[in-house]
């Protein structure tokens, strides 16, 4: 697949300088974000509820542009992508899995949802079928292909939503709270999937506040504070061992976590 991104492999995937975003033009959602993400990085975006994680992911996906600051993604100006310029090609390379799977599953069957992206690419029916079969198999939901989304459980919906993005074959995958409200088996399936995608060289940014999965899915961590600014940016282990920082970011609480022995890793 040829693209600007493929042509400029040394350029960072995302470059943000002083990015500010306001909800309804008034309420601050993100304030002065500086960020650079390299190709093939696995990054976790940590932050308490309302810290702006989902908004940042939507900005990175070019769904909307910043109110101020500069933002480049895959060699393009994200504001131009958000206004529709070249967004078709951009979304071949960047896929966003929304926090609420009901938003993402808008078709009458799971298969139709997974096929939606490839069909928009103008691929042949055979190629669409192949991509869908692969994505459904990766997420272990081939048996749900003909089912209506309203019949699925929360975990199944989440897997179907991820399959609908994987079928596009994006180089960059943005995941918004992928393991929220999942049972342990579904959670582990997603963690191992993210690991596999990372090993395949994909750039993955996962927004979460589940600290136990972070060391398994990311080598670098960005912490967003409740002031909607970047509070920390560093290696996963280093950030997760800084209990003062985690308390400040409202990611752990002294009454719930024994800070002297806080163990964020599952294994």
């Amino acid at each position: 697949m040829s693209s600007d991104f493929s042509a400029n492999r040394t350029e960072p995937v995302f470059q943000l300088k002083g990015v500010r975003y306001l909800y309804n033009g008034r309420q601050i959602a993100l304030d002065g974000i500086d960020l650079e993400v390299g190709r093939g990085e696995q990054l976790a975006l940590l932050g308490a509820n309302g810290s702006g994680k989902s908004t940042l992911l939507k900005l990175l996906d070019g769904i909307f542009g910043p109110n101020s600051g500069t933002m480049r993604a895959l060699g393009r100006d994200i504001a131009a992508v958000a206004s529709g310029l070249d967004s078709f090609r951009f979304h071949r390379e960047v896929g966003l899995v929304f926090q609420d799977p009901d938003v993402q599953l808008f078709s009458a069957t799971v298969f139709d949802d997974v096929a939606f992206g490839p069909l928009q690419l103008g691929l042949s029916q055979a190629e669409v079928r192949q991509r869908c079969d692969e994505a459904l198999e990766i997420m272990e939901i081939t048996h749900l292909a003909r089912r209506a989304p309203f019949e699925l459980s929360g975990g199944e919906k989440k897997r179907a939503a991820i399959a609908s993005v994987l079928s596009l074959g994006p180089e960059v995958i943005l995941l918004d709270e992928p393991t929220a409200a999942l049972d342990p088996r579904s959670k582990w399936l997603l963690v191992s999937l993210i690991q596999k995608l990372g090993q395949a060289g994909k750039t993955i940014i996962t927004a979460t506040h589940e600290l136990e999965i972070v060391p398994l899915i990311a080598s670098r961590v960005i912490v967003l504070g409740e002031n909607r600014q970047v509070l920390a940016d560093g290696p996963a282990r280093q950030v997760l061992e800084d209990t003062d920082l985690l308390v400040k970011a409202n990611l752990i609480h002294p009454e719930l976590h024994y800070l002297g022995h806080f163990q964020p890793s599952m294994g």
Partner: protein, 293 residues
């Protein structure tokens, strides 16, 4: 006297019971709509005769039989067509009582209202009648025959529609409309509407249940109306937010405004056979009805 005993005798208690009954009924209605949809999808996944046919063939068969029913003015032929639909339902493993109930529960109400005046106003012999001044009131035989034909025609059409919907997943049924050159954007809108109706029905159920779990005292009719208005507004707000989010999700997967869909249908020998056989039965019914009255 304890407060509960006082409550037991008060008119307020009676009023509360009525209002709770109304809420329970609404909740049960919404829940049963969801359950029925899931149940219908279950039937469409069975390995019955109609379930195995291409949806486009089924749509063609449905149209042929409905046209036959519409062009037939013979009561015995209409009964014959109804028996054919019962046989098709049996071969498709659709439970008899479910199928018959679903068809006949609505017909007396909707078709009955339309047809009752014609029974009395159609001229002809009236075996049972009474006179009021210069008026002779009673059902006429031509009126009764006309009503029977009308009701059996409605029964055949509704049975066919139910059979089509019950044996075909909604998604396939919508896609089969492409064969009739229905615009794809219209089909996409219909499928999304179907998808999100269930989401909002579930939200409504959750809101009703959340309210029910916190009902610890009597609320006035005014308060209830206020709550209902607030809930409607809340659901509307959610639907607006959801529609924006869904559109974002569509854009994120490369939606450019042009609708495309994946076609998995393939007409095979058995589909063509079933289609031509049904067209044959329909044509025969229209032909034969001229001789059987």
């Amino acid at each position: 006297m304890s407060s509960s005993a006082r409550l037991g005798r008060s008119p307020a208690r009676k009023k509360q019971k009525q209002s709770l009954g109304w809420l329970e009924k609404t909740l049960a209605g919404i829940t049963s709509s969801i359950a029925q949809a899931v149940f219908t999808e279950e039937h469409s996944r069975k390995a019955g005769w109609l379930q195995q046919l291409d949806p486009r063939a089924k749509l063609g068969m449905f149209l042929a039989m409905v046209l036959a029913g519409s062009f037939t003015g013979s009561f015995p032929v209409l009964v014959g067509l109804y028996l054919v639909t019962l046989l098709a339902a049996r071969l498709s493993q659709v439970p008899f009582d479910f199928f018959v109930k679903r068809v006949w529960l609505g017909i007396p109400f909707f078709a009955g209202i339309v047809v009752v005046p014609s029974i009395f106003f159609t001229p002809g012999e009236r075996p049972l009648s009474f006179t009021v001044g210069s008026l002779i009131i009673g059902p006429s035989i031509p009126g009764l025959i006309g009503a029977s034909i009308f009701i059996s025609r409605v029964a055949v059409s509704v049975s066919l529609a139910v059979l089509l919907v019950v044996t075909t997943p909604w998604a396939d049924l919508l896609k089969s409309l492409q064969a009739l050159h229905v615009p794809q954007v219209f089909i996409l809108l219909l499928s999304m509407t179907y998808r999100y109706i269930f989401l909002f029905l579930r939200s409504a159920v959750d809101m009703f249940e959340a309210r029910k779990s916190r009902m610890v005292g009597w609320t006035s009719g005014k308060e209830q109306r206020k709550w209902i208005a607030g809930s409607v507004g809340n659901l509307m707000n959610r639907s607006f937010k959801m529609s924006n989010d869904v559109y974002s999700a569509m854009l994120a997967r490369g939606f450019t405004g042009e609708t495309r869909s994946f076609n998995t249908f393939r007409m095979e020998g058995r589909d063509w056979t079933a289609l031509f056989l049904t067209i044959g039965v329909a044509a025969a019914a229209v032909f034969v009805q001229r001789f059987i009255r």
